[in-house]
């Protein structure tokens, strides 16, 4: 073994820290807060060590590989090789996991302390194990280890999702998640095993070398299987159905980790298999990913708008953002297949940057959601409201996250979307009308989904934090979230701003893997401007959010100072005016459903809502001589489950029930099966030419 000691030693240390955390959490007393804290502390240490290791790797540029053939599996089964490898792509994801993991772990201290009532130590132990499996997936250098880690990741996250398994709903969601993920795991297994078998190498590096000689049919089979498998994990429509069930069911710090990090591992899988190992493919690959991505973006945001449950809403936004990332990957594949590596690099850069950005703001938002739903005792936004006064810092962080996910400058979400818009725009130089129209339309979809995301997050932020509380629980909230929880959110908020203002920090780190994958120089970027601007030499496009942020900050400062100067009249506080209505109450406010209603109406053909209006006869629950009590109920349809997964499940169950009648209990029927089998086999004899004429 000939290893560069630095990153590997750090990685080893990180792994040990995680495992100590796991053991502490799982072996200690399940109900002990102290044990949970010890476990989390080691996980925190693990994120720091792992992140440092990846940073060294990304800056130092050394690549390492380490493989080990497990005892006993030597000659025939060469696929069963365990190995870890860190190249820029892995290192990038290690850094992502560690960085976001650090903030979420920090927040977990407060979250577990205040909002988790059952077995916090067990939760912490599995949490540390989850982080560990995530790292193992992205560091796996061989197909075998990758599959082991992949499945372990699924199982561990299942345990985390069903942590509050006293609730039947949680159990159902967890099972749904587990079964779909396992099926997806089978697809992943198919794709990786095909690669390994047909290229004759157990390691990704070896497969990548042999990949150019692979049969195109095998490659396409691998691609389809990989898209199914990794797309499911990432939450790509129509494979996303588990996501809005599982993420809300989990404790919020776990949702943050799942939505922020785990679904990104699906992206990693696509990047690893389709891009790094196979180096792209025919045009239809890219078109498929682009179309699926665009569908996901729209479906995600439209369903998010219709949600009352804050965590479900966030989960659907994950679908949207994964869609955006897949649009970028699809565009990149299209450019690659048309022979524009520089543009491919640009799109890929956009996708990977958006991966980072989404990880940051989505985990931030989930932590915020955890804080408010923990405090208000409900996840239903209809019963929140006015929390900004009791929880000002949480509100601030949440709104920062909301702005970032809505793609508003000068935050990080805008930068990646800007890059993606530029990539779409660049389709003008490909010289193909179809590509151009397709990518431009994708640009329109991106714009629409970004706009709708803004709409959705005004609704969410407003419904949670602004106006008056709409329930007694929300009214009773008196203090902000625990300091540790807030500090985790603070870290993420700062990162959201920092990567918006100085995106080069992230782009420099991504650039190496992008140029390695696309075989070009980095598509951006020259240092310049105040804090380093983005310049696209191929497009004469440029962006310097640092300058804009400065202008913005200066403008706000000046305006603030001017506003603070004395006026003739004193400022005062009074009830809201509301066109002169007397003392508006919380029942008169616009509720989140009311806010969402126009979009539900505009896109009624997608939502296909069923409404129910009832007017009870006089003297209902609130009797009065002139008043009737009316009830209005509206439900939207969810075709992805109702139209596809439910019928599928139904069919399989029906088939199983019908099949199980074969075991009728009658021994004569069983013996008849013998006769039947014998006849079939004798017929087969004829087929094989042994016993027939």
């Amino acid at each position: 073994m000939n290893l560069p000691p630095g990153p590997l030693l750090l990685l080893g240390a990180a792994a040990s820290a995680y495992l100590i955390g796991v053991l502490a959490g799982l072996l200690g007393k399940a109900d002990s807060q102290g044990t949970a804290q010890v476990s989390l502390a080691f996980a925190l240490l693990g994120t720091v060590l792992g992140g440092t290791s990846a940073l060294f790797e990304l800056l130092g540029g050394s690549v390492f590989n380490w493989t080990y053939v497990p005892s006993g599996f030597t000659s025939p089964d060469s696929v069963m090789v365990i190995g870890i490898a860190m190249d820029p792509l892995s290192a990038f994801f290690v850094l992502l996991i560690s960085m976001v993991g650090f903030a979420i772990t920090l927040s977990s201290f407060g979250y577990l302390d205040k909002y988790v009532h059952e077995r916090p130590a067990t939760l912490a132990g599995f949490y540390a194990l989850f982080l560990f499996t995530l790292l193992t997936v992205v560091l796996a250098g061989t197909v075998f280890l990758f599959l082991i880690a992949w499945e372990a990741m699924t199982i561990v996250s299942y345990f985390l999702v069903v942590h509050e398994h006293a609730s039947p709903k949680v159990r159902r969601s967890g099972l749904f998640y587990l079964v779909i993920s396992h099926a997806a795991g089978a697809a992943v297994l198919t794709s990786l095993l095909l690669l390994a078998v047909y290229s004759g190498s157990p390691t990704f590096a070896g497969i990548a070398q042999a990949a150019s000689h692979l049969n195109p049919w095998v490659k396409s089979l691998v691609f389809v299987a990989a898209t199914l498998g990794f797309g499911t994990k990432a939450g790509l429509v129509p494979l996303h159905v588990w996501l809005p069930e599982a993420h809300p069911a989990a404790p919020s710090n776990v949702s943050a980790l799942m939505s922020g990090v785990m679904i990104k591992v699906g992206i990693y899988g696509i990047l690893r298999v389709v891009f790094q190992v196979m180096g792209g493919g025919p045009l239809w690959w890219g078109v498929l990913l682009l179309v699926m991505g665009a569908t996901s973006a729209l479906v995600g945001v439209l369903n998010a708008i219709a949600q009352h449950d804050i965590k479900r809403l966030l989960a659907f936004h994950s679908v949207e953002n994964i869609g955006i990332i897949f649009m970028a990957l699809g565009a990149s594949l299209i450019f690659l297949s048309l022979g524009f590596p520089l543009l491919a690099a640009l799109a890929l850069l956009a996708g990977m940057l958006h991966t980072v950005n989404h990880a940051l703001f989505k985990s931030l938002l989930f932590l915020g959601a955890g804080a408010v739903s923990g405090a208000a005792g409900t996840r239903d936004m209809e019963h929140m409201g006015g929390l900004a006064r009791a929880m000002p810092q949480t509100a601030l962080f949440f709104i920062v996250g909301a702005m970032a996910i809505s793609g508003l400058p000068p935050l990080n979400g805008f930068v990646s979307e800007w890059l993606l818009f530029q990539a779409f725009f660049a389709s003008f130089s490909t010289g193909s009308l179809a590509t151009e129209v397709l990518l431009t339309a994708a640009g329109g979809v991106l714009a629409l989904s970004t706009g709708l995301a803004g709409y959705c997050f005004v609704k969410a932020s407003g419904a949670i934090f602004l106006a008056r509380p709409r329930s007694s629980e929300a009214e009773r909230v008196s203090s902000d979230a625990p300091a540790t929880l807030r500090s985790g959110m603070a870290v993420l908020s700062i990162l959201c701003i920092l990567l918006g203002v100085v995106p080069l920090l992230a782009i420099e780190l991504i650039g190496r893997s992008v140029s390695e994958i696309t075989n070009t120089a980095s598509p951006t970027v020259s240092l310049g401007g105040v804090l380093g601007s983005l310049e696209l030499p191929s497009l004469s496009g440029n962006l310097d959010l640092g300058v804009i942020a400065l202008v913005l900050a200066a403008a706000i400062l000046v305006l603030w100072v001017v506003r603070r100067t004395r006026t003739a009249e004193k400022d005062r506080v009074s009830p809201a005016w509301d066109c002169g209505l007397d003392r508006p109450t919380s029942r008169m406010e616009y509720t989140p459903s009311g806010y969402a209603q126009p979009i539900l109406r505009i896109f009624a053909s997608y939502y296909a809502p069923t409404t129910l209006t009832e007017t009870s006869p006089r003297g209902g629950s609130r009797p009065g001589p002139l008043m009737k009590v009316s009830r209005f109920q509206s439900e939207i349809s969810y075709p992805w489950v109702e139209g596809f997964f439910d019928p599928l499940k139904q069919h399989v169950m029906d088939l199983a029930r019908r099949t199980s009648r074969l075991q009728s209990g009658r021994i004569h029927a069983y013996l008849a099966y013998f006769v039947l089998t014998l006849l079939v086999l004798l017929a087969a004899l004829w087929f094989f030419g042994g016993g027939g004429p």
């Binding site: 199980s660 009648r661 075991q663 009728s664 209990g665 009658r666 021994i667 004569h668 013996l671 008849a672 013998f674 006769v675 014998l678 006849l679 004798l682 004899l685 042994g690 016993g691 027939g692 004429p693």
Partner: protein
């Protein structure tokens, strides 16, 4: 090759076949046990004939074994069971007599179709017995799967075994006495165990109709 000897062999084998066929269509239990007796005796006879014709002295012993066990002991056990637990004499089946007769024909045709084209058999003198033996096995299977009473199922199994024996003695001149004893011992134990279960079943369910055993399903 002695042509009359072979003829005698084939005629005896035909007795085996006909008795199997008849037991497919007969509706009385006692008659079926007797048919089984005849059949077993024929198989035993074939063993002795083969031993004589092809000078395979081992087969004399086999023949005696078959005669003793299949033609004497088993029918005796079967009769005793029938008496002791008062199995009704009427055979109850899932298919009609006419259909059963047709099924017998089907078994025979299938056996001929399957075995006919096997080339290496041409060198074996008694090769003509193989289709008969396959047919008897198939008929036994048919009995087991269409007769309601557990008792008749046992008879069906024994018929199948006779079919196998027929091929064993006629075509391969036995499997070696050691193995044959083992097989015979097994059959004896099978008969004893079946008898225990039939008694138990009769005690518990008051019938030996296997079709009432339907509580385990799915």
């Amino acid at each position: 090759m002695v042509a009359p000897g072979l003829l005698a062999l084939e005629l005896t084998a035909a007795v085996v076949l006909v008795s199997a066929w008849l037991s497919l269509v007969h509706r009385r239990l006692e008659a079926i046990i007797n048919l089984y007796l005849v059949q077993s005796a024929a198989v035993g006879l074939i063993a002795i004939l083969v031993a004589y014709l092809y000078s395979a002295p081992d087969l004399y012993l086999t023949g005696l074994l078959v005669l003793g066990l299949n033609a004497i002991i088993f029918p005796w056990i079967l009769h005793r069971i029938q008496r002791e637990i008062r199995v009704p004499n009427e055979i109850r089946m899932f298919v009609s007599v006419r259909l059963s007769a047709l099924a017998g024909l089907g078994c025979l045709l299938l056996a001929v179709a399957v075995v006919g084209p096997l080339t290496p058999l041409a060198e074996i003198p008694a090769a003509g017995l193989l289709p008969i033996s396959v047919a008897v096995v198939l008929m036994g299977l048919f009995m087991v799967s269409t007769r309601r009473k557990a008792f008749t199922q046992v008879v069906g199994m024994l018929v199948m075994e006779n079919g196998v024996f027929l091929a064993g003695v006629a075509l391969t001149y036995g499997l070696g006495i050691f193995l044959e004893l083992g097989v015979a011992a097994n059959l004896l134990i099978l008969a004893i165990v079946s008898r225990i279960f039939l008694y138990r079943m009769n005690d518990t369910f008051d019938t030996v109709d296997a079709d009432v055993l339907r509580s385990l399903e799915g």
